[in-house]
Every structure is written in structure tokens, then in C-alpha cells.
Subunit: 242 residues, 2 copies
Amino acid sequence: MIQESPTFSPLYRQIKGLMIQALEAGEWLPGQMIPSEQELAARFSVSQGTVRKAVDEMAADNLLVRKQGKGTFVASHHDPRALFRFLRLVPVDGDIVHPESVPLECWRAKAGQEASRILAIKPGDPIIIVRRLLRFAKKPVVIDEIYLPGEIFQGLTLEMLQSWNSSLYSLFETRFGLRMIRAQERIRAVAADRSVAEALKVPEGKPLLSVERVTYTYGDKPVEWRRGLYLTDEHYYLNELN
Amino acid sequence: MIQESPTFSPLYRQIKGLMIQALEAGEWLPGQMIPSEQELAARFSVSQGTVRKAVDEMAADNLLVRKQGKGTFVASHHDPRALFRFLRLVPVDGDIVHPESVPLECWRAKAGQEASRILAIKPGDPIIIVRRLLRFAKKPVVIDEIYLPGEIFQGLTLEMLQSWNSSLYSLFETRFGLRMIRAQERIRAVAADRSVAEALKVPEGKPLLSVERVTYTYGDKPVEWRRGLYLTDEHYYLNELN
DNA sequence: AAGTGGTCTAGACCACGTC
DNA sequence: ACGTGGTCTAGACCACTTT
């Protein structure tokens, strides 16, 4: 049954909403195969074509991955292809290398004005701050400072970060059931201060890319705020405009 | 008729190819309405649903714009909404303001090693170089150096640029029949040299965003190479990651 | 009222992967 | 051989815009 005109939403979008609910509720987990289009059509009492449109949109949103002949799967940050969805850093010459993540520090704090606004929590609420380095081919290239809402990331420790040898988001996914859906990056150019210069082994005042990222999970809920400083001597930030 | 398996391409994609040919050939011009889905279906001897899928993809590619109840139109850079498709610069606070473009210089040269490689022309082929400033609310924020293949842009002059009060790409579209389809940007952080510092009224050595853009028209043909230096004191480069 | 794109359905068949 | 997603068709009806 379709609603009346003012808030008109087509059937396939309502189906999409129901399927996102199923994802949020953990009915289908990352990496798992979801029911076939026929089964979903029966479950929601619509035609297979309508389910198809819903799944099409969700695949376009990177929530699902279709594999012809096999089935449709819940997108996962364990998928190696998912890594460069959020990390747009590419070497000037030479092949793409997977970066090595080096967690440096991890401590508790209380949310200040800015953190609380961005993470949609109350000032004074607990947050966790992580500092880590990214190395490409042994060379330090990125230094990140990551702010996480403490309530969601209870139990996160430096040891946990250090013993995890895959991407941060894949850790968040398995340990905290958190799936990063989309992000927004604000980029500017800044000069390296003393501590950053030291970490990246460059002179103080060196121009760096400042990349501030807010990452959202289902329902446009912000769950991560990070600021990365990128050394762009041998890498650049690549952006495709379509 | 669908081809055999190894190079299998579905019907709707073949239709899409034919429609792109029609666009390239200038059969349908920017801003104009294309034939209805029924007419196209008859023209290509396929069902309306197949045309629909072709048009869907072309709309997703920003080649066409659908308007319910009115028709489907060829995308145009005259559309004010098209401006910020390629310009991702947003003020830190305050509303989005349309920038003012100030052409500074325009001269002829011969393509060097790098320009010829990027623009897919021969070294020594004529190119046109444009320098221009972008001002937001009277303040200089971006200085661009733009390299164009001379053969395509014959007759481009500084006066022409200065008398045009809309976006560069809308000028290219109307004066040279050239439609910019997609672009790729490589971003790094650099220090302002003397001449740039002067143009942007900042001290020498100021960290700036260096944005190198290669822009393509139909058939992935590169037709513009530009390097912009962005002052990011009161603006940032915004990127949505989906 | 007429024309456009947008949705929904039902059914047939194709391509791909697995058993 | 079977199950999955992918394509194609034909037709009905809805929503939006213009005449």
C-alpha cells in the first residue's frame, strides 16, 4: 500500500527502508548473503522487479554488493576493495601499496564544544582519542587523530588496535558492530607544527594536507571524527568528479 | 540484436552508446529536450523499458537530466547547479557564494612534454594558456593556470574570457561546442611562491592547496589541464565519500 | 485532456557460478 | 541441473506539467 501524495514514497523505497532496518537490526551481517530476490519479494509481498529496484539503490549506496550467479551480500570493510573507498591517497608514481597502520596512543577524555557538536553527543560525554601513523612502503605519510564517542567504543584499547592487522573500520565492524556508511571530508592546506613534523620526519612549517573527516553509520549518525595530516611529497589525494 | 558472449554488452548499453553518439554528433544540444522514451523506443526498435535503463545510466552519468512531466534534457553547464559539480570549494562559515572569475592573461605556446602527455597531443602542438583569479566576496581565493589544446580552442582570447560573465565551462560549451563530462583531481599541499603569493595577497611560503585537474569530454578525451592554487583560510575543499 | 517521466507487475529468457 | 542475479518485454496505472 502506497501512502498519499504529500509524503509520497514509491514502494521500492519503502522496501529499501525495511531492508535497511534489517541491516541495522543485525538480521544480515557484513559479508553474509542476503535472501534471494524471489524470497524477498515473497516476504514483502511485492514483485521481484520492485525488490530489484530497492537492491539496486542499496548497491549504489555501497550497502550491498551483487555477485551474478552467487547472490547479494552485505558490504563489509573486510573486503580489501573497501579500503580505498575512504582513503584516497595514491602514490605519485609506482603501484598502489597497502599502508601499514601504526597506532601510537589511545586515551580517554571528555568531549569539548567542537567534538560534542560534530559527534552529536553532550559536552562532557566520554570520548576516546586515538593517534596513529600510516606508513606507505616504510615511510610515514599520514598522522591521524581520531575522536570516537566513548559510549559506542567501550573497551577500545591501544593493545587492541596494535594487534589488529587490517583496517580500522574492519576492526570497528567486528568488535563494535559498527558499519561506516559514508563520510564527508574537508580539506585544507596547513603548515606542520613541531610534533607533527617530528612524527612525519619533515621540517617544521612543511605544507601538509589537513583532511577532516566525519564518518556516519546508518541513519546519518556521526560516529567518528578524525583529522589527518597528509604528507604529499610522494602521494596525492585523488578525487574523481563525475 | 545482441552480440556473442565474449564481448557481451546488454541491449540497453548499446542503446546508450547510440544515444551518446547522437550527443557527440550534436543532434541534441545542451539544454534541449531529447525525444520521449516512446519515440526513442520506436527509433531503436526496443521496448520503452530498455530505453529507460539507458537513460537512467546517462542521467547517473550527468549526461542527461530527467524532469518528471516535462521530458529529458541534455545536461548543460549553463545550469547554475552545474557550477559546483566541479568546484568543491565551500566557505568555512557563511552561505555559499558564487565566485567571480577574473581572467588575467591568455597566451599561445607549444606543448611541452607534460602537457602533450596529459592532453594526448603531440609535443610542439599549439596550446593556449590562461591565468585567472577566482574571488569569493571580493577576496582572492584561487589562482588557476589552465592549459588548453590550441586546435580545439582556436580563437579564444582574453577579451572573450573577460566579457563572459558565467562559468568557463559554459563558455566552452557555447563557443566551442565542448561539453565537459568528467574530471580527475590530484590534490597536494604546497608553499606559495612569490608570484602566487602576490596574486592571492598572502605571504610567500603560505601553505596552499594545489589542485591539478584533467577534464574529459566524450570518449574520455582530455581537453583541459589546469592547476589551481587554493587559499584555504576561509574555505575548504569538500568531498563526499559514499 | 494530453503528454511526459515514474512505478509496478508478470513472465520469459540469458549469463554466471556451483553442485 | 539448478539457483542466483541480469536483461528484455508488454502493459497497466500513477504523478507531474502544460495546454
